[in-house]
């Protein structure tokens, strides 16, 4: 089992991260890889070093408590990013698809509302979206159902 959190400026390598997760052992049956990328206009990503890693690691620990994961990788970039560049990668590996899908979706929803990053576009700082708060909150409501 390998759980990795990285906060860094350089681009990530999707193929390498997928290969790592899929090679975690003969028990891996499903890998889900989510990537978020810059849409429509370049962005500058500000972040809070230290707290960023800490918050992401805390969300990952919660995911591990809820789903039988065999591995997970979370990478969040900061700094200037061009259109089409990857911002965030969340990868999960499990025996079955439900755990891999649900945990990756959970991690993304919580990163959106609790990882201390801020996007700045040409028009100024991007406003937080109420829909992101709702997306994260639904995992609180469904906590019992999902077990």
């Amino acid at each position: 089992m390998t759980f990795t959190v990285r906060v860094e400026a350089q681009p990530f390598d999707v193929a390498r991260e997928h290969a790592r997760l899929s090679a975690l052992g003969p028990g891996v049956g499903a890998v889900v890889l989510f990537t978020g990328q810059v849409r429509d206009e370049p962005l500058l990503l500000d972040h809070y070093p230290g707290m960023a890693e800490r918050q992401i690691a805390a969300r990952l620990a919660e995911a591990c408590a809820r789903w039988p994961l065999l591995g997970a990788t979370i990478i969040h970039r900061f700094g200037p990013l061009a259109v089409g560049e990857g911002i965030v990668l969340v990868g999960t590996a499990s025996a079955h698809r439900a755990a891999a899908f649900e945990s990756a979706s959970f991690l993304m929803d919580w990163l959106k509302t609790s990882a201390p990053f801020w996007k700045k576009a040409a028009g100024g700082w991007v406003e937080a979206r109420a829909s992101d708060e709702l997306a994260a909150a639904r995992w609180l409501e469904t906590q019992e159902q999902l077990r």
Partner: protein, 84 residues
């Protein structure tokens, strides 16, 4: 005794510094600390004027305005996060 303040995104831009130390002799609710900070410069007043638009962390954990700040703490003030 002091607390270390960190500012991010437009909070940092309005205040004009990324971090600073302010004196603190004993525990103080976060709301009261922000009140004090607002009085420092017009930039602070502009950045910290609407607490509803701000979020805070104490020692890298999210904190609400009632939380107590202690001397030696690291306090961060920033807008709602927009990563991911």
């Amino acid at each position: 005794m002091a607390v270390r303040l960190l500012y991010f995104a437009w909070v940092r831009e309005r205040i004009g510094v990324a971090d600073e130390e302010v004196p603190l002799e004993g525990p103080l609710p976060l709301a009261a600390l922000v009140e004090r900070l607002r009085a420092r410069t017009p930039g602070h007043a502009h950045a910290l004027g609407e607490p509803a638009r701000l979020r805070a962390a104490i020692n890298q954990e999210f904190a609400d305005w009632n939380a107590e700040v202690h001397p030696g703490d690291e306090v961060a003030l920033f807008p709602p996060v927009t990563g991911g």
